[in-house]
């Protein structure tokens, strides 16, 4: 009995000292010299797994490349990646750990809107620059320290409306993700569509981990819209697409930029043929004209990524690429002082990334316009450029 008590106490102490040592080790961050710590909070498991996985790979690839090239002004990059399990509280916890324990110099993430919104509040209160990889415009709205690299959903929706209006499609049916990613999409569509006479006639929702979409699709079929929009991420978006074709709905269908990866084509299979979507140019880089301003960045990233991981990068990997490169660009020019990094990010102009050409401003911490997306169609299980959208 006594021996057990003693061992337990010793174990307890060991645990405690272990923690103390760890927090000492990571003092080196902050400002000045030593390693630069980049903290990333990604949706590696859970509903956002198809996003977070490639993002993690992209960040690891870039950190490796940067360190192999001698780091930033002689300082090595230390990359710490945390999994938020696709939950809001997981994201907040991971963010707090990176900020207070690991003393990160900048935070990248999260992959999806909900977790990113949860992290934004912490970035504001602890005054640390954060670059989200998610779409919802609310992530950066009214925020001082938060930036993002995924195209705003407003930008995406504008493309969908413009394309629909040009085809004469006025009535739009919406089947959307019930979580943060789909929040407010219907309202925005109606607002942006008003000048062109496009409006939402029916909205159906699905949980991000839903598996059966019969109920939603039957209701959408009955709504008889001119065009339908499925707004979600794989695998749900892929299963929804399957169900759409299964129920014999012939109406043209848009998907969102949330499906820009092979996982969507894999789950949706044949049913993806004919799907239209506004998408970053990464997946159609080979179809772009040589003069395209992004072509060089896109092809280099795609070939580096494919060489290391034997699979082409998704547009989500591209969002991570942009966040990492924006951070490195800031560190190179102004060091790791958090306020200076923030100011630098806010004034980024003409930065050629994978998701588009970034022009940040105090009003717009996303920096991407309507031209950051091309209109793409799925044909025979491949992405096909329909409209390069360079104006």
């Amino acid at each position: 009995m006594r021996r057990r008590a003693v061992t337990a106490t010793v174990a307890g102490f060991l645990l405690l000292t272990g923690c103390a040592e760890k927090s000492q080790e990571t003092e080196s961050g902050g400002s000045g010299t030593g390693d630069i710590t980049i903290g990333a909070v990604l949706d590696i498991t859970g509903a956002g797994a198809t996003l977070g996985g490639p993002e993690k790979q992209a960040l690891e690839l870039l950190a490796e490349q940067t360190n192999a090239a001698g780091g930033v002004n002689g300082r090595k990059i230390k990359l710490i990646i945390e999994d938020n399990q696709s939950t809001e509280d997981g994201a907040a916890k991971a963010m707090t750990k990176l900020v207070s324990q690991d003393k990160a110099d900048i935070i990248i993430g999260a992959s999806r809107s909900g977790p990113s919104l949860a992290m934004g509040a912490i970035a504001e209160s602890s005054k640390i620059p954060m670059i989200s990889l998610a779409a919802n415009v609310k992530i950066t709205e009214g925020k001082r320290w938060v930036f993002k690299t995924a195209q705003n959903d407003a930008v995406v929706l504008q493309n969908i409306i413009d394309y629909s209006a040009a085809q004469g499609w006025k009535k739009l049916g919406l089947i959307r993700d019930a979580s943060g990613y789909g929040e407010g999409v219907g309202e925005q569509l109606n607002e942006l569509g008003k000048p062109k006479g496009v409006s939402v006639v029916r909205t159906e929702k699905f949980a991000p981990d839903a598996t059966d979409f019969t109920a939603q699709m039957v209701n959408i079929r009955d709504a008889k819209a001119d065009v339908n929009l499925i707004w979600g991420i794989p695998p749900a978006a892929g299963l929804a697409q399957k169900s759409y074709r299964q129920l014999g709905i012939k109406t043209p269908v848009f998907q969102s930029h949330g499906v820009g990866n092979q996982a969507f084509l894999d789950t949706a299979g044949d049913s993806a043929d004919g799907v239209l979507l506004p998408l970053g140019r990464l997946l159609v880089a080979d179809q772009l004209p040589d003069g395209d301003p992004q072509k060089q960045v896109l092809t280099k990233f795609a070939s580096d990524f494919t060489a290391k991981y034997k699979t082409p990068p998704s547009t989500f990997a591209g969002h991570a690429y942009d966040a990492f490169k924006l951070a490195i660009d800031a560190f190179q020019k102004v060091g790791t002082d958090k306020a200076k990094v923030r100011d630098h990010l806010e004034n980024v102009k003409g930065f050629v990334g994978v998701s588009g050409v970034f022009n940040m401003s105090p009003q717009d911490h996303s920096g991407l316009g309507k031209d950051a997306l091309a209109i793409v169609k799925v044909e025979d299980g491949k992405w096909k450029l329909v409209d390069a959208n360079r104006g």
Binding site: G46, G53, D212, V218, D222, P235, L239
Partner: protein
């Protein structure tokens, strides 16, 4: 009308999957009073095993058999390693224990197959449309599997001497031992059966609902509600409960609000526990 039928058809298929999981709950609980919370993980594991086996070049049927065999073996191993060593097993202990097992299984699946979902290729057969109602071939496979496996388990427990001996273990443990029924063997067999039914649920649903390390929780919860609907002791009740739950979920999603789909199971659970704690089906033979 076509809409109503469409909801029902989709609900039947989903209900078939719940029913298979529910049978697993019943087959263990009726023998040893153990609630096996890792039941849903059996389905997840089987789906992933089948995908790997098919990916390794096996034709569909052998791949399915491999997956079911692996999961049955895992279920038996769990009984040996986690259930049998416990001296005084109560239902509460078993819940805590199998919750741990389920977490461990999930971690292993996450390590092996990664966080992303995968789908098995569809079973043979083409989808058809009858009177405006589209029926997926896979949905028919799910229902067929449910009928076949459910029927076999029901026949075993209710109609064979071995099955009755197994059930006697829970109803009259002392008497059962007196007449020479081995409680440990009975528990082992019941886990094997639960492994097979869970695995069948996992492989037949994988082509349309996809498989990943984390699908087990929802499936397990829904299956448990279905089993409770049937009173936790009756195989027929479990099948009926599963089908009812699946159809009800789809009707609510279609006519009320899609967001309420997952709430249906829990509202039903509360209602049934308040109104008819013994389940919907009357089973006279279950308690002496």
């Amino acid at each position: 009308m076509a809409d109503l039928l469409q909801f029902v058809v989709a609900g039947l298929a989903q209900g078939g999957a719940y029913a298979l999981i529910a049978i697993g709950f019943v087959s263990i609980f009726a023998v040893s009073g153990v609630i096996n919370l890792a039941q849903g993980e059996f389905a997840a594991l089987a789906g992933l095993c089948a995908i790997s086996a098919a990916g390794a070049g096996l034709p569909l049927l052998p791949a399915l058999l491999v997956a079911v065999a692996v999961v049955a073996a895992v279920a038996i191993a769990i009984e040996r390693l986690a259930i049998r060593p416990v001296r005084r097993m109560t239902t509460l202990t078993s819940i805590i224990l199998t919750l741990g097992v389920s977490t461990a299984l999930k971690a292993v699946m996450l390590l092996i197959w990664g966080p992303q979902g995968h789908t098995l290729r569809a079973f043979p057969g083409s989808d058809l449309t009858v009177a405006g109602v589209s029926i997926r071939a896979q949905e028919l496979w799910i229902l067929a599997a449910c009928a076949l496996v459910g029927g076999a388990v029901w026949w075993f427990y209710e109609r064979t001497l071995h099955g009755k001996a197994l059930r006697a273990c829970s109803e009259q443990p002392v008497a059962a031992r007196l007449i020479g029924i081995s409680l440990t063997k009975a528990s082992l067999v019941s886990f094997g059966i639960a492994g097979v039914t869970g695995a069948v649920a996992g492989v037949v649903t994988s082509p349309i609902y996809s498989s990943s390390w984390e699908i087990g929780l929802t499936l397990g919860l829904k299956g448990f509600v279905a089993a409770t609907l049937g009173g936790l002791l009756s195989v027929r009740g479990a099948i009926l409960g599963g089908i009812l739950l699946g159809v009800l979920e789809n009707l609510v999603a279609g006519y009320v609000a899609t967001g309420l789909r997952d709430a249906v199971a829990f509202v039903v659970l509360i209602a049934i526990l308040l109104a008819r704690p013994g389940g919907l089906v009357k089973h006279t033979e279950a308690r002496v």
